[in-house]
């Protein structure tokens, strides 16, 4: 017990080493949330472009849309076809070589990365909405955009919610690769302590526990949201 106490003191109390954990945690949360927001915005736009194109709506489909659709497809192919770590390194060492903030590099990388996955899961959500919903809206005289916004997308969002939560959780954990560009996020915080005190057990288990608790919190919040959205589908 005394030994544990000594290790604990050495790992977290001495020289205020707990700061590595808390500062890292804050960075992890900032990167995850901003990247998720960015990913959702990119994802909604990309998925709507892809669906509008595929639904062959004669009034919407035209040359600019076809070009936009092609760009979206290339974007998704590149992002899904390469590891996030490689994307992060390319962003840091090539694309944003003059960027001063590592945090900015991380947010942009993960935002762009997440956008591709969110786009595909939203597209799945939109396609899961019965085409009769769009037809009914159009037959009443509502435009494609208006019907999408008021009828199709709310249903698509609800259908994609479990997958979106999955993406949120995966993103949170994936930010742990930011250590590769020397950004002090949660995992690297724990690893710095390990490197200083030569004790691996406590810092790494602490880091793991914090990730676990964060994921539990996300899951719990998601279940609350899902319960609220459930009213309209007693099927």
């Amino acid at each position: 017990m005394n030994e544990f106490k000594a290790k604990f003191t050495q790992d977290f109390i001495e020289d205020g080493r707990w700061h590595f954990i808390t500062d890292g945690l804050i960075n992890t949360i900032i990167i995850t949330i901003l990247a998720l927001l960015m990913g959702v915005i990119i994802g909604v736009i990309v998925s709507i472009i892809r669906c509008a194109h595929d639904q062959k709506d004669e009034k919407v489909r035209n040359i600019p849309l076809s070009i936009a659709n092609a760009i979206c497809k290339i974007y998704i192919a590149i992002i899904r076809g390469t590891p996030a770590l490689v994307q992060l390194l390319i962003m840091y060492f090539i694309v944003m070589i003059s960027a001063k903030s590592k945090l900015l590099v991380a947010v942009l990388t993960f935002g762009i990365n997440s956008g591709a996955y969110v786009a595909e899961l939203f597209r799945g959500g939109i396609m899961s909405v019965d085409s009769g919903q769009l037809e009914a809206g159009r037959s009443l005289g509502m435009s494609y955009v208006l019907t999408m916004r008021k009828v199709v997308l709310p249903q698509a969002f609800k259908a994609s919610l479990p997958a979106l939560i999955n993406e949120f959780i995966a993103l949170l954990k994936e930010t742990s690769i930011c250590g590769y560009i020397g950004l002090n996020e949660l995992t690297r915080g724990g690893d710095i302590i390990r490197g200083t005190t030569y004790d691996a057990l406590l810092p790494l288990l602490t880091v793991a526990l914090i990730y676990f608790i964060l994921v539990m919190i996300i899951s719990y919040l998601a279940s609350l949201v899902e319960r609220r959205l459930r009213r309209s589908d007693k099927r």
Binding site: D130, L140, G141
Partner: protein
């Protein structure tokens, strides 16, 4: 009021409509019958351009709606449509289902639209369902709501695409009842249906579509009692 000239529609290599000419006057109730795959639903869906015709023209109130420069959303505001599978908006309450389009398209204020919705719901005896969601209703109730949703836009004509085909037999009556009332009120109606009783009783004209063309068209009595087209005779002998 509706004038169709030389209407053709193909899906890829499949020819569905092979030259339909037809004229519908204000206040007429047209029942369209025919075997499945004959093109009757496609014909109906062309009338509000849910399907884009491959060739031909459609005029509504002397406006050519097949002209690419026409604002089809404006045209659709005066053409109500009721679907086989109801297609109520699953994410909205009954009230919002009915008032969404009139409010969003600035046809009415929120208060006017809600007042109108209640009035229409009373007509179909569903005023207690305003706050329900579509998933909480039976098929017959959903279809009555779907009719109300279309009526809330004050359409000049109503299209029905097999409105009772997806219903349990005991619910068919309540929907047909609403449609009959609508017919009595003088609404112009085009109904694709398998309900021969309804066609005989309510329609002013019955149209038989087969292989993408109109093979016979006449008043209900002549249509059912002395059909001339051999294909129609065969069809009627099977369904009556």
């Amino acid at each position: 009021m509706i004038n169709v000239k030389g209407l053709y529609k193909s899906f890829g290599d499949t020819k569905v409509l092979n030259g339909i000419d037809y004229h519908i006057e204000q206040g007429e109730k047209i029942a369209i019958i025919g075997p499945s795959g004959s093109g009757k639903s496609t014909f109906l869906r062309c009338l509000n351009l849910l399907e884009t015709p491959t060739k031909g023209q459609i005029f509504i109130d002397d406006e050519e709606i097949t002209d690419p420069n026409v604002n089809i959303d404006k045209v659709r505001e005066k053409i109500g449509m009721v679907f086989q599978h109801f297609n109520l908006f699953n994410n909205l309450t009954i009230m919002d289902n009915i008032t969404l389009a009139p409010i969003q398209l600035k046809k009415m204020t929120k208060e006017e639209a809600e007042e109108k919705a209640i009035e229409l719901l009373k007509r179909v005896n569903l005023e207690d369902k305003v706050d329900s969601y579509p998933s909480e209703l039976s098929g017959g109730q959903k279809q009555r709501i779907a009719i109300v949703r279309s009526l809330a836009m004050n359409p000049e004509v109503m299209l029905f695409d097999e409105p009772t085909s997806a219903l349990d037999p005991e619910m068919v009556g309540e929907v047909l009842e609403v449609m009959k009332e609508l017919a009595d009120d003088g609404m112009t109606m085009v109904v694709v249906t398998h309900e021969m009783g309804f066609a005989r009783e309510v329609a002013s004209k019955v149209v038989f579509i087969d292989e993408g063309i109109i093979k016979e068209e006449s008043e209900p009595k002549a249509f059912f009692d002395s059909p001339k087209n051999p294909r129609l005779q065969e069809f009627l002998s099977k369904v009556l």
